[in-house]
Assembly symmetry: C2
Homo-oligomer: 544 residues x 2
């Protein structure tokens, strides 16, 4: 029994086991533990077959545990692999992994300083002050920080949660009686204004669980470049239903489907006019803050009332690493159960200003250590290198001539369909444009191509639904298409990586291009009846 | 720049660094990295001095990073140390630490199966089915699970969150229109019934942020043994304000201050009569499920509608490891944004039934691997050993004659004040009972003793506020006292550990006993004016 715990002393068997697990982790990262594939694809049924088991009566040996861990490593997907291009959550910085390892042993509890997290509370607080500085919010040095009411930000478990907490802060700021009396005490229904088609799913989720109801979301139109249309926001605010009182406008700094960025300053202006809270969802765009050049893309972010940052996206940090910050630091004190204590000099128990979290670990060490490792100069370089790499990857995709992009390249993600140039040419020459079977074919082959690639497991794109807001495909903007997404989370892909990506795409694309062309030809011959569009079987994270 | 990332290949420098960090983690656990103290105490000012720094411009070397990590390890508190007796979050199982290390490298995203967490989604699902079986909820084998609507549980970041989600599920179950129309659409104010003084702070927090408002909590009296009084619950339900509609009763299976356990079946009976949801907060008591003997203490838990479990408390798992389960598995589907999809055969994207969470890591591997390592037999043993160890520790404390316990021993935590037998005898003999200065002295010396112990860093108890519901101290039940808490999270403490605990307590206690007695004597001489009670400067996690 004792051998299953780590106490005052370690046995060499325990030490060896932990070292073996570390080595397995390294082999997972390098590819060795997964046959150098991004994914060893299994069907759900095959996964279940491997995993399904009764609650074990007898314990297992470390050797048995290790076999389990090997199996799990073999069939896990490698987001850190340069040819994983579905999502930006690479989590592959040395500092983040190292911190994560130590965090597990430290097991500090960030609810409080004393007895729980004495030094860690200050590391996390320092990190939040740094992040405030990066955003451009008022901040101070840690040694000048009087108490909790001046911290003005918190770690969260993800961007979803960061957005929830920003909504709550704005809501309680506007309606101070809420904490005691609840939402039913309000004369009008509080509402959030946001653009349809560019928003993250968390806003609808938040409205539903925080008691606003999805009716508490006022949807406005997006622009053809997948950004919020400020005129539409203004129009909505000028034509509100009688019983509704808006309290927040959402600006998206890098939407999760195309990484398009709203004009934050236009939305700020509107919020000022109408007395509303401006929240910036910068879960994707936050990384641009590290580059003085790219930062201009999110200009005005420092004028927002709150911002969500998500370093486990696009900043090479493993899960969970997300932060929500508030321009007015004292906003967070609304969540405190001891309102006086948070203003007491020397009180730094973070649990007093972090709604939803009680006992929690020291996940913030990861980003703190990453910033130490890179420094601002290194992070600037990493983010700017990635901009170059992203464009290289788009170039590789473009030159295969298989794809149609739904928008201009943004900063690390693009959405596209499988619609080869030869097919488009044939369509043009044979006046097939606008035929509804064509739309069905684009949908079908996009899905097929992406799924085939996924099952092969060498190069992986995302697959999700997207409206063709720019009408690039040519059937108007109303319809949703299954689209592929390419996300470049890595600062650099080697020449070899890029060649392998291209070769894989060509190999799969060639086959589908031929099939699609054949189907199109049948259209001209009139002997084609479009198949029913099949539901997407395999979908990825950004579809959310 | 490349050297800061882990790609297809690892440099030996990177490997060495990670191995060194692992070794540091091991030295932290064994005590070597922290001078074999539970805590190297620093004041807040000293912590800030060590941590405060500007956003670094230049990056640092791995050697520099390692120095930072050494400093952090040295001044972190060791919850895994056998002489840390403030909280049960030991996090020191080999399996949990090993899983945590691998999880960091794997960086799976449990939002979805495809492209995000192919094998991991099934491990987590299997684990939840196991937990359902342990609680006694209806369950099935993983291979027979048709789809998401039958999972009936989810990982969360902590017990706080588990309680939030249980409240939401109950609320949306009672008022199905909420998701769309929000709380203001309800005719009456929804409310939760719970007992004062035994509840976790998360319920008030949840009421405040989920839109009920703290007015949505109907507080009833607790019993003198720190359990919910079922008669008081019934009385409350029979005398409701006109505009209130209760939807949930909270049963506490191991409250955070004394680990007292409510009579779940009495509360179930009431809930059945009044048509209410019964939630069991078993964040502390959940570990008893693993022992067929101890399980009787939480009898009836299988009849609850929801239950919160918190393996990062009392089950040797590192943060974050918490779960909320629902007797009716389909309850969770209310949170889905694609209500049809969750009932589709073969859909296992956990992100569809997990409110508040989008992208998130594979934290569930820790508990899954722990269960594999121990097996049910091993966990039964561990939990039963701890019961013995807990009573040994209470015995050690009792025989010093320094303390007065506020309740009978429960299962791993007790609350007590510093009120030595010699002082009590003197009070008795000199008819000082009931003198208010005495109360002040008990408060003062409890606080002083605990703080002194904490600063010394060899043995650590918790310090928090508690009503003396059993009137053990003798000044009635209304007042709150600063009390110490002893939590035994470890299955076993060595003979040597127990001796060291005793020696440390005696050394500190002897001094305070003498001082306290001296002050009491001044009382009889009439030349004593009680000092103002000073606010607690150092408080611990359970005070929350």
């Amino acid at each position: 029994m004792e051998e299953k715990f780590l106490y005052d002393s370690f046995s060499s068997e325990q030490q060896n086991f932990l070292q073996e697990v570390l080595a397995l982790g390294i082999r997972f990262m390098s590819g060795e533990a997964r046959d150098h594939k991004v994914l060893n694809y299994l069907t759900n049924e095959e996964c279940i077959e491997l995993v399904s088991s009764e609650l074990p009566r007898k314990g297992k040996s470390l050797t048995d545990l290790f076999s389990h861990l090997q199996m799990i490593s073999k069939y896990s997907i490698a987001q850190n692999d340069p040819k994983y291009l579905a999502f930006p959550d690479t989590g592959n910085s040395v500092a983040s992994i190292a911190a994560d390892i130590l965090v597990s042993f430290l097991n500090q509890n960030l609810i409080a300083v004393d007895r729980s997290a004495p030094i860690a509370s200050f590391i996390e607080t320092q990190l939040i002050l740094w992040l405030r500085q990066l955003v451009g919010y008022p901040t101070c040095e840690l040694k000048d920080l009087p108490n909790l009411s001046n911290v003005g930000g918190m770690w969260t478990s993800g961007g979803n949660m960061s957005n929830h907490i920003a909504i709550l802060a704005a809501l309680h700021h506007k309606f101070p009686g809420l904490k005691k009396k609840g939402l039913s005490s309000l004369a009008k229904r509080p509402a959030i204004v946001l653009a349809k088609g560019v928003e993250h799913f968390s806003f609808k989720g938040a409205a539903e669980v925080l008691g606003l109801g999805s009716d508490g979301l006022l949807w406005v139109e997006s622009n053809s470049d997948y950004t919020t249309n400020p005129d539409a926001v203004r129009f909505e605010l000028d034509h509100l239903p009688e019983d509704v009182e808006p309290f927040m406008v959402v600006a998206v700094a890098g939407n999760c489907r195309t990484t398009s960025i709203d004009s934050i300053s236009s939305l700020r202006k509107i919020c000022d006019e109408y007395g509303l809270w401006l929240h910036v969802d910068a879960c994707h765009g936050g990384s641009l803050l590290f580059s003085d050049t790219l930062r201009s893309k999110v200009a005005g972010i420092e004028e927002s009332d709150s911002v969500s940052l998500d370093p486990h996206k696009g900043m090479f940090v493993t899960y969970a690493s997300s932060y929500v910050l508030f321009r007015q630091p004292e906003i967070l004190t609304v969540f405190s159960r001891y309102p006086d204590k948070v203003r007491e000099s020397g009180c730094f128990d973070l649990g007093l200003i972090t709604p939803f979290y009680g006992s929690r670990g020291f996940a913030s060490l990861k980003l703190w250590l990453l910033i130490q490792h890179f420094g601002l100069e290194g992070l600037k370089k990493a983010v700017e290198f990635r901009e170059v790499t992203y464009r290289q990857v788009i170039e590789v995709l473009s030159k295969t001539n298989y794809f149609l992009f739904l928008h201009q390249p943004m900063f690390y993600r693009s959405a596209f369909v499988f619609y080869p140039q030869v097919v488009r040419k044939y369509v043009e020459e044979n006046q097939l444009k606008g035929r509804k079977e064509l739309k069905t074919l684009v949908k079908k082959y996009t899905q097929r191509f992406s799924e085939e690639l996924y099952r092969r497991g060498n190069v992986i794109f995302d697959l999700y639904s997207l409206q063709d807001l720019g009408n690039k495909i040519g059937f108007g903007i109303a319809d949703k298409y299954p689209v592929m997404g390419v996300s470049v989370g890595h600062p650099f892909l080697s020449e070899k990586n890029l060649k392998e990506v291209e070769a894989e795409i060509r190999q799969v694309g060639m086959v589908f291009e031929e099939q699609m062309l054949k189907e199109i030809m049948m259209l001209t011959n009139g002997d084609y009846s479009a198949e029913n569009e099949s539901a997407t079987k395999i979908s990825g994270p950004a579809g959310w």
